[in-house]
Amino acid sequence: MKIISVIKQVPDAEARIRATPTGIDLDGVTFVIDGMDEYGVEQSLRLREGGLDTELISLALGPKRFEEAIRTSLAMGSDRAIHIETDEALDPITQAKVLASIIQEEGAELVFVGGKEADWDSAALGPAIAEALGWPHSDWTTRLEINDTSLSVTHDSDEGSETLTLPLPAVITTQQGLNEPRYPTLPNIMKAKRKELKKLTLADVGSPSGKTQVLKQEIQTKSRLNKVVQGDAADAAKELARLLHEEAKAI
């Protein structure tokens, strides 16, 4: 059985992002594999360690710099990778079509996708890939077990959480709690450099055009009052309550 993990590379959460008149400037920013994608890679490794006979493939669609994140997934333990290299910022629906075509070609039966991307703040990719493939999916998944031809999962719902069973093939989007991703060891980082990384271009997948266009990006800079209320605990608390009530009219 083949398992595919979709990988993205995103700015480190602590990175300072700058806005320019033409959009976000990511120059000098540290990039990392999206933490939500690591949950997927880790889960696929655990399935294999649990006895499942499987090949683990990392799949990415993005600019050249994504290679680093792909290598991280290989260093964690994936067997090989496919990178569709493009500088175009395609919307998640268009990306999902491209990724689905590769997943189909590979004949994978289980696909992990990060629950929410840390660059676009998008949760659409996983469900959209499932739809493109005509497969079921589980979103915001916090527990996963495989039983022959079906999956038993727990996922976050609007009201709390629920368990689901779904037949394979299927798409799983990840959520915090699914597992604790491992750190790649030095020998595995060295080994990863020799693993297969197949490159494709958008032309190889039909040169799709996007459905949305980003017109503008700005850093959120809502100015805050930054008022520090002075005094001992009782006085400061009283003054804070007064400010919230009278000045902010918020309570």
């Binding site: 739809e131 629920e162 930054n226 309570i251």
Partner: protein, 320 residues
């Protein structure tokens, strides 16, 4: 026309349904066409007549297979309705389930998706939306290049619609495919809380590691939240320590909230936490470390020990 999917919980409308209706109304004024609201589920007569007070046309799709919110049956019903009514836009709440099935609907309609939007406009017949990106550090403006479009709308941003209609309710069959039933729901665990839901709360009191322990929440956070009729939030450090349930976590991997007032107690203000709350109208921080990053995004702050300040604050707000 504009198709709105009205969320409900066991037949009572959610606030997001009324927010979607006001978003849809202003969109329809610019895009043309009427607003139609769809309700999916079981035993919908109560919710349908309630909804008809806000919109002229309600379509109720009742089917046992729609009792739980599952992405595939929802997708089938919504794409069928969108095609049949020739919808220009399908509006869904950006709840956990809404984010999920809206992506499938967009794919099945081969339509652009505008996700988790905070404002909507129309220029030259094309829909333009604002949304957050980069862990809510960035606001981006996105244009959809075609119609129809699917839009998921961020909760707690748009005003609620006013009850000024006396609409009609039509019933429609779900017309599901066999494969729509392949995901089976087993046990459900409701996030246990007798309090206002985090994503609907107008005031949120969040405790961080500085609260000290699970008992610290009972002793400090809960009484203040009760005095303010507020929801309770937590940082990941607190959830990882097992002091509070994951359902209360605010941040990148938890909930994104934007209440009128967000009160952070013993929270350092890590970026992953800020990304879940930095859109709150007013932010209050109480922390013993004057250099804690949370003060950078705070409107009001007290540098002090939560064990002393919080009980005093509870007394002070109770006597307002």
């Amino acid at each position: 026309m504009i198709l709105v999917i009205a969320e409900h919980s066991n037949g009572s409308l959610k606030k997001s349904a009324l927010e979607l209706l006001s978003a849809a109304k202003s969109l329809s004024e610019k895009l043309g066409g009427e607003v139609v609201a769809a309700l999916l589920g079981q035993d919908l007569s109560g919710a349908a007549s309630e909804l008809a007070k806000y919109v002229n046309k309600v379509i109720a799709v009742e089917d046992a297979a729609l009792a739980d919110v599952r992405a595939e049956p929802y997708t089938t019903v919504l794409t069928n309705l969108a095609k049949e009514l020739e919808a220009k836009a399908v509006l869904v709440s950006a709840s956990k389930s809404g984010l999920s099935y809206s992506a499938r609907v967009a794919m099945r309609l081969d339509a652009p998706l505008l996700e988790d939007v905070t404002s909507l406009d129309v220029e030259g017949g094309q829909v333009i939306a604002s949304r957050f990106s980069y862990l809510a550090r960035v606001t981006e403006t996105v244009k959809a290049l075609a119609l129809p479009i699917v839009i998921s709308v961020k909760p707690n941003i748009f005003p609620v619609a006013e009850a000024s209609a006396s609409g009609t309710v039509d019933k429609k069959a779900a017309d599901l495919a066999a494969s729509d039933d392949r995901v089976k729901v087993g046990e459900k665990a409701a996030a246990k809380t007798g309090r206002v839901a985090l994503d609907e709360a107008d005031i949120i009191v969040t405790g961080g590691r500085g609260v000290g322990s699970a008992e610290g929440f009972t002793k400090l956070v809960e009484p203040l939240a009760d005095a303010l009729s507020a929801g309770i939030g937590a940082t990941r450090a607190v959830v990882d320590a097992g002091w509070r349930p994951y359902s209360e976590q605010v941040g990148q991997t938890g909930k994104t909230v934007a209440p009128g007032v967000y009160i952070a107690l013993g929270v350092s203000g890590a970026v992953q936490h800020l990304s879940g709350m930095n859109r709150s109208k007013i932010i209050v921080a109480i922390n013993k470390d004057a250099d804690a990053p949370i003060f950078k995004v705070a409107d009001y702050g007290i540098v002090g020990d939560v064990n002393e300040v919080v009980p005093a604050l509870k007394e002070a707000v109770s006597s307002l």
